[in-house]
Symmetry: C2
Subunit: 354 residues, 2 copies
């Protein structure tokens, strides 16, 4: 069955997941949902990134009802029959830009904010230390690229007054940025997942076993993410959509833009995974999360060993060897408090296994 879920002040939450919320939509396994997802960065280029629907959400969700996180998420979607211990597969079928502009925000939580001491004992990136910055990109969906449009110094030194603060064009000095540079588009949902088990308003920034702010730039149309269900009916949310991102997401954000996405949901009763798993036609990616990147990579590696046993019947010794010689450890993001690493394994290595 096909459903449509529009982003409105009623179907969007700003900055939190709460597993006590009434579903915005109820579906069955196999259903397809056309869903509007909004970025929370439209206020940084309000002349380019607003239409009536976006403006309605930005104006009608009370400023005091935003937080503790910054993200706008659409949902929740209840899945009939889903129970903790099941796995919800989210097949990403399609993504279209709602408006062709996106923002990269260089945040005070970015990797190079604050002094960076380089090997020779003096800072390499002094220009980046001290204030926040905005670069606006324009996407060409036909070309599959985004180009730099303009940049400006963000006027708030530290926190902005509230999530979604408007920075009106005449209040800042917009200057050209990245002339001639082409960024490949990789449209994905920065934040997507099932409801966390914990009750109350859960911060949208740190990712976890439930998914959430995973920020894997490889979760593009044609791929599917598997989430371990935490609560009855699963309660799926998505938002914080990105046009493009590099592994690491080092400035604190991607190219943040609104996307209309089409998703299909499949409920699995007999899969056992313990952390989100992304599958493409050619690769399997297993995530690990931890405040400390050294621990995140250990968790990702251990969960990948476990998954290889489940999937291909390999012993832990065999899986460990294969990962060391053919698996790739990547940094998903280092800017969400809880950092993310993922192991990428090409399915071609086991192609000839009987």
């Amino acid at each position: 069955m096909y459903h449509k879920l529009t982003a409105t002040p009623e179907t969007c939450q700003w900055g939190y997941f709460d597993n006590a919320l009434e579903p915005a939509l109820t579906i069955r396994s196999g259903d397809v949902v056309a869903m509007e997802c909004l970025t929370h960065h439209a206020g940084e280029a309000p002349d380019l990134m607003m239409d009536d629907g976006v403006r309605e959400v930005y104006e009608n969700i009370d400023k005091n009802d935003r937080g503790p996180g910054p993200h706008i998420v659409t949902g929740p979607i209840a899945v009939v029959g889903a129970e903790p211990g099941d796995v919800l597969e989210c097949r990403f079928l399609q993504a279209e830009p709602r408006l062709p502009y996106g923002v990269n925000f260089q945040a005070n939580w970015g990797l190079l904010y604050g002094p960076v001491r380089a090997p020779l004992g003096h800072a390499t990136t002094t220009d980046l230390e001290s204030h926040q910055h905005v670069v606006v990109y324009e996407a060409d969906w036909q070309q599959g690229t985004a180009k730099g449009l303009f940049q400006y110094a963000y006027p708030y030194a530290d926190e902005s007054p509230y999530p979604g603060t408007f920075i009106e064009p005449h209040t800042v000095a917009r200057q050209s940025a990245l002339r001639g540079v082409s960024v490949p588009l990789r449209p994905h949902m920065g934040t997507a997942g099932v409801a966390p088990a914990q009750s109350g308003r859960i911060h949208t920034v740190p990712p976890g076993e439930f998914g959430g702010n995973v920020d894997n730039r490889s979760f593009v149309p044609g791929t599917r993410m598997f989430y371990p269900v935490q609560v009855p009916s699963a309660l799926f949310w998505a938002g914080d959509t990105h046009f493009a991102e590099g592994d690491g997401e080092i400035s604190g954000t991607a190219i943040e833009g609104h996307l209309n996405v089409m998703l299909q949901f499949v409920l699995h009763k007999n899969l056992r995974i313990r952390t989100p798993l992304l599958e493409t036609d050619t690769e399997v990616m297993v995530h690990g999360f931890h405040e400390n990147l050294d621990e995140a990579v250990r968790i990702a590696a251990a969960e990948t060993v476990y998954e290889m046993g489940r999937r291909w019947g390999l012993s832990q010794r065999e899986s460990y060897s294969l990962l060391s010689v053919a698996g790739d450890l990547r940094v998903t993001q280092v800017v969400n408090g809880v950092k993310g690493a993922h192991f990428v394994l090409s399915k071609s290595v086991v192609r000839e296994m009987r």
Copy 2:
């Protein structure tokens, strides 16, 4: 000019770099060197990984003259006119296996050695905690793949008696491993670089600004690594060759095998880099090293920002944005004490810059 550098007890050092050593060869910028590189893991399959030349090195370098590191390196090669502050480019022209077998060692310094607590609170990888293990692979250079041949439990619980200890076939129970699995070959030098500035016998395990045990699996034929010269004449070493490795090198090793390599060296007087840089036809990769992976990624990111300014004239703000939306942060290795991360940037993003 073309040179040949054979691996012998005289041209190999086992476990150290020492910038006071006499050069094994002296070359000029532009020269090509055909060089034999040996793995230090041949003792784990001595029936398959020895020929007369390898055996001569294993038998004639005194056991007490090995260390503090485990690696066999060939060199040093002096480059006429090289001075600290210059950059030595090593163009990797060709690699041939000396013998078609390689060892993956699951070491007590591997990522999953010791208890790993998985998200649900119990260990996922209990089989890997407690002892070292060997998997031997056979490479098919025509096919471009390696296949698992056999595995066995390593007989020494902790340290082996000395680097290069022979494990005779009849002393262990060899069992089949990874039947049907195909690992793509990516022949590279695990350890290569210029001499460190510090005097004395320098441990070969931790990588640094001079290169050394960088373990970047992308340093394959057709690519070139740039090293910041630390001492007069540069003094290049290479060894610890690998047939294949995944980013992370999590078990502590790659598929370790002997390679005959052909390298061309070019001295640059006017380049300024501060950490090894790998360039392929399509990508630039900048390395960062630190005991703590969180710091290693910061250093790699900062050095990449610096390199983008040098190379393309981008401002730090522009480079930072571009890295966040189009650069990929990868984990080079997490097993060399000093961990490595590298930023990968596709050159296609700046293709249309004027």
